[in-house]
């Protein structure tokens, strides 16, 4: 049996009443476990606590009931191994693209104490990462000089530069046009395949979830908990064409019917 890397066990979390059970429950009795190197997607009706799940799994919030374990450890402070990307690229406008990428290295140990000495190495690493997402030679530009899709690629690179063990993606492609979105699906697919990192993707887009994930969790309406856990057995590497096959469509419509039910 593969060991769980991220494990939420019977987790309940509320906002409002200072973390107690008096506030509005965001998630209730949520149990999810994600294996090392696995790509998991979480889908559900809006407001089902998907973003709360992200915060719980990275130690940015703590549940009042249940436990969150990462690599076997119950977490009591923000994890230091996670990379995150959101719907908004959240790049720093006063830094160039390259300097934006270097930001995590200025914070995470051991890079933090070595960045002065090994600056050239790190810059080379950042440039290599930019190349791998199709942004070669764009490092000296400022974020606002890049298109939305390019900014989002940069944001992904920033989430990966310190080689995190865990990548958390909160609807990272939601604000992009359909073609750019599908392009970035492939970018993420390749990065995951190359680096064997554990990915948790929160999304509204069922095609995205099915195309990328090994397993899809369907969450209920607020307070969120897992209704269905659906393994996606489509063989890897997956090509974009797979999204037009009947098998793929079936999974999507099956997930869709779960969510329609969850909304009622």
């Amino acid at each position: 049996m593969v060991s769980a890397f991220v494990a939420l066990d019977g987790v309940s979390h509320a906002y409002g009443a200072r973390g107690g059970s008096g506030g509005t429950l965001a998630v209730d009795g949520l149990t999810i476990s994600v294996n090392v190197g696995e790509f998991c997607a979480v889908v559900g009706p809006s407001g089902c606590g998907k973003s709360t799940l992200m915060k719980l799994a990275t130690g940015l919030q703590f549940p009042f009931k249940g436990t969150v374990r990462i690599a076997g450890q119950v977490i009591s402070q923000p994890v230091k191994i996670a990379g995150m990307a959101f719907q908004a690229p959240t790049l720093l406008p006063w830094r160039t693209t390259l300097d934006n990428l270097l930001l995590p290295l200025e914070i995470v140990e051991p890079h933090r104490s070595e960045i002065r000495r090994r600056k050239a190495d790190y810059v080379a690493r950042a440039e290599q990462l930019l190349t791998s997402v199709g942004l070669q030679g764009q490092g000296s530009k400022f974020p606002w000089e890049l298109s939305g899709g390019m900014q989002q690629r940069t944001s992904l690179c920033r989430a990966l530069i310190h080689e995190p063990q865990l990548l958390m993606l909160d609807e990272p492609f939601a604000a992009l046009d359909a073609f750019t979105r599908e392009e970035l699906w492939c970018v993420i697919r390749d990065l995951h395949a190359a680096r064997k990192i554990t990915v948790i993707l929160v999304t509204h887009d069922l095609r995205e979830a099915v195309f990328l994930a090994d397993r899809v969790f369907v969450m209920s309406a607020r307070p969120g908990r897992v209704l269905v856990e659906r393994p996606i057995e489509l063989p890897r590497p997956r090509d974009l064409d797979v999204t037009f096959t009947p098998g793929f469509q079936d999974i999507v419509s099956e997930l869709r019917s779960h969510i329609v039910r969850a909304r009622q």
Partner: protein, 257 residues
């Protein structure tokens, strides 16, 4: 450069000249007595006749203003960072600061005179007291409006609060800070001149008070113009500083049409 650009560059001068021309014309047209509203030519005359005193007193006012303003920048920046740092400090200090800011500074001058005597120190302190508030508010606002997602990204990397402050908080606060300097510098002039007109033997405020006592109305207006000139120059200096330090924040084409 096309003709539109040229006009934009010349616009400040054209508008200023037109204002003075209208003023001059109005005085002649409506036959306004010069002791009520002197025409610009009479004010210019006063500038020539009293150049020495105007120059000396202007420099004096400029120095008290700049020292007070400098104190306000240092103190305002520090207090702003402190207030932006912690919600409890914010909650505790904010009402006090608003209350303090609501006090007319003209009412504080007598107290300052009581403590420090008339002249230099009250003028500096009044300039300081009147101008630090916008700096504090702006710096605190800059810190309070850090995007929560960005904070999450950094926290999930194990960043401390000081890290977040250094890497994100302070840089993103700079446009707010430099913006507030433009407000603060003009307020600082108000502060020092108030103090000089109440309790000082030097400065533009004093000069205008003396001119008033001698009924030299053109000289009073010359004092006002000298103040306005100093205010414009310092404001412009702050605007240049702002543009140089935070060019990344000023890329909107909104006002360029």
């Amino acid at each position: 450069m096309n003709s539109n650009d040229l006009f934009v560059r010349l616009a400040p001068w054209i508008y200023t000249v037109v204002m003075f021309l209208l003023w001059e014309a109005a005085v002649w047209l409506f036959n306004i007595p010069p002791f009520f509203l002197p025409p610009p030519t009479a004010i210019a005359r006063a500038f020539v006749d009293f150049w020495g005193p105007i120059y000396r007193h202007s420099l004096y006012t400029l120095s008290t203003t700049m020292i007070g303003f400098g104190m306000a920048v240092g103190f305002g920046l520090l207090l702003g960072l402190l207030v932006g740092w912690s919600r409890s400090i914010y909650a505790g200090l904010y009402p006090l600061m608003i209350g303090f800011n609501a006090i007319p500074k003209v009412a504080v001058v007598p107290i300052l005179v009581l403590w420090f005597g008339i002249g230099f120190v009250p003028a500096v302190l009044t300039a300081f007291l009147i101008s630090f508030f916008p700096i504090v508010v702006n710096v605190a606002t800059g810190l309070a409006t850090i995007e929560p997602e960005l904070e999450d990204v950094l926290k999930a990397l194990g960043a401390s609060k000081l890290d977040i402050m250094r890497k994100v908080g302070i840089p993103r606060t700079l446009p707010y800070f430099f913006g507030s300097l433009k407000v603060a510098i003009t307020l600082a002039f108000v502060g020092s001149v108030i103090s000089e007109s109440i309790a000082s033997n030097y400065g533009i405020g004093t000069l205008m008070l003396q001119a008033q006592a001698q009924f030299q109305v053109p000289l009073i207006f010359a004092g006002l113009i000298a103040l306005a000139f100093e205010g414009i120059v310092m404001y412009w200096a702050m605007a240049v500083l702002e543009a140089r330090m935070t060019g990344w924040a000023q890329r909107s084409g909104f006002a360029q049409a």
